[in-house]
């Protein structure tokens, strides 16, 4: 898989930077948990004073447990947005970025088919996000004891899987935008758009029963709705994410094989 290897090699330093940034942000947030006093603290009362809509929007209703705290402060917030940023950057670079910079023309004039290029770059992005996920999972497992989070190993794996699949789906939205339109702006817009809309639908869906349909169609809710860090695997949610990512990849392949390369 030469295209996959080349894509990973070219982005190796970038991947390291994202890993360090994510672990640093996670450590910063989780280290506050013991000083906030955990389950025994007045945090529940504090949260009760916040507007109810806001609490539900960012998932702070479970904040007094270790799993709820890690979920709402990291995986559901900065961890999600940082992961989305990396995913959109990579998904954009995979087709539109290299196309606009002229690098794709050269690779595709070699004996590499467009199908092969998109497939291998898709797998490369999945590999990178999985690496980030494994790093995050190991870091979370290491922090669970010192910061009194009391997390279960299998739940850590479940939340990491949800995070990886969610960011991968967003990356594929960006890749698809590039494959269809050949423009960096379109790829960035579609990737970031899917991420932001998924987040907002989840937040609005939590506000009331009438809004519940919004959660039903939000990839963010598919990933986190069943609280994987507290309750473990949610096969249904992960399946929906994988299916949406597959639709994005298939659309990308169909469109990219048919069109002119831009330059």
């Amino acid at each position: 898989m030469p295209i996959l290897i080349q894509f990973l090699r070219a982005g190796a330093r970038n991947l390291l930077i994202w890993a360090v940034a994510l672990v640093a942000v996670m450590a910063m947030y989780l280290s506050f948990y013991p000083s906030l006093g955990g389950a025994a603290s007045g945090m529940t009362e504090l949260v009760d004073q916040l507007p109810e809509g806001m609490v539900k929007a960012i998932g702070y209703d479970q904040i007094a447990t270790g799993a709820g705290y890690a979920q709402s402060t990291f995986f559901g917030l900065l961890g999600f947005f940082l992961g989305t940023a990396a995913a959109v950057a990579w998904g954009t670079r995979a087709v539109a970025g290299d196309e606009e910079s002229g690098m794709l023309e050269l690779t595709l004039a070699h004996p590499v088919s467009r199908l092969q290029l998109v497939t291998e770059r898709t797998l490369a992005i999945l590999t990178r996000l999985t690496v980030l996920g494994v790093v995050l999972g190991l870091a979370l497992a290491a922090m669970s004891g010192p910061f009194d989070l009391g997390l279960e190993g299998s739940h850590i794996v479940a939340v990491v899987a949800a995070w990886v699949l969610l960011t991968f789906t967003i990356a594929m939205a960006a890749l698809m935008g590039g494959a269809v339109f050949g423009s960096r702006v379109a790829a960035l817009g579609i990737g970031a758009g899917v991420g932001v809309v998924a987040f907002l639908l989840n937040a609005l869906g939590a506000q009331s029963e009438e809004n519940a349909w919004m959660s039903d169609i939000s990839p963010f809710s598919w990933a986190y709705g069943e609280r994987p860090l507290a309750q473990g695997w949610d096969g249904g949610g992960l399946g929906l994410l994988a299916a949406l990512a597959a639709v994005f990849v298939a659309t990308a392949l169909l469109a990219f094989a048919r069109r002119d390369l831009r330059s």
Binding site: I5, R13, L106, A109, H110, P111, V112
Partner: protein, 306 residues
Amino acid sequence: MTDVVVTTGLTKRYGSVLALDSLDLTIPQGTVFGVIGPNGAGKTTLMRLLVDVLRPTSGSITVLGMEPRAGGKDLRGRIGYLPGEFHVEPGLSGRAHLKFWTSISPGDRTQVHRRAEAMAERLDIPLDRPARKLSKGNKQKLGLVQAFMHRPELLILDEPTSGLDPLVQQTFLELVSEARDGGATVFLSSHVLSEVEQAADLAVVLRSGSIVREASIEGLHTTAVRHLRARLSDADAATVDRRMADVAAGLDVSVEGEDVLVSGLVQGHADDLVKALARFTVADLVLAEPDLEESVLAMYSGKDVP
């Protein structure tokens, strides 16, 4: 002799812009075939169509007996392509690039890699430096290596010598003739006439998406125009004027201080002209190629030379 590239009525439109207008082109096997034309004439579009980076609006293309899209990656494995704008991965070294191109190259990869390294050495490319630190010339040399390294049957080179210093241009010409001697066909483009003159056996002149003229290199040569500027000392203007009128019409002869200046446009072989000038003491002589638009116009309006 078979034809390596055949296009019939090849048309490419970008929205309302007509880049190629019903082009009929045949490139015979084993030739070095040049396409000359000003920027925007359609040279790059034509080359991109041949490697299936672009698809034709209408008309047909056959490359090495196959339609580019149907031929797919196997067909492209038999082609070496140098894009007009050559871009490399900024963070990776030249060596990593060679490794990558080897890994997507058809045939015996050990041999391909060995040949790539030998070529890089011959062209004197610093392989261990990250590509972003390479000069434009060194990047272009890397581009040449990736086009030639797998010994393709057809080389498609878009402005191959841009950014290369004269010494390397010489090496490039050697590479082209070696490839041709090995049985390959070379299709190259330039906006500089002399470049194609040096390398090619046959050439077409492309302008606004159509072939303006098709000729052997000798044919192009005799119709080419040159800018002349000469400074003669120890001469008198009247004699110079008379002598020059015999070889070229319409030259401007003037006196500047002690010297006589001759300037203007000349067409055809330079031999007569240089011999006429040599009767005087030549203090300075510039015989320069005009820009291509001018030569093409001259060719187009000038008398037809076979």
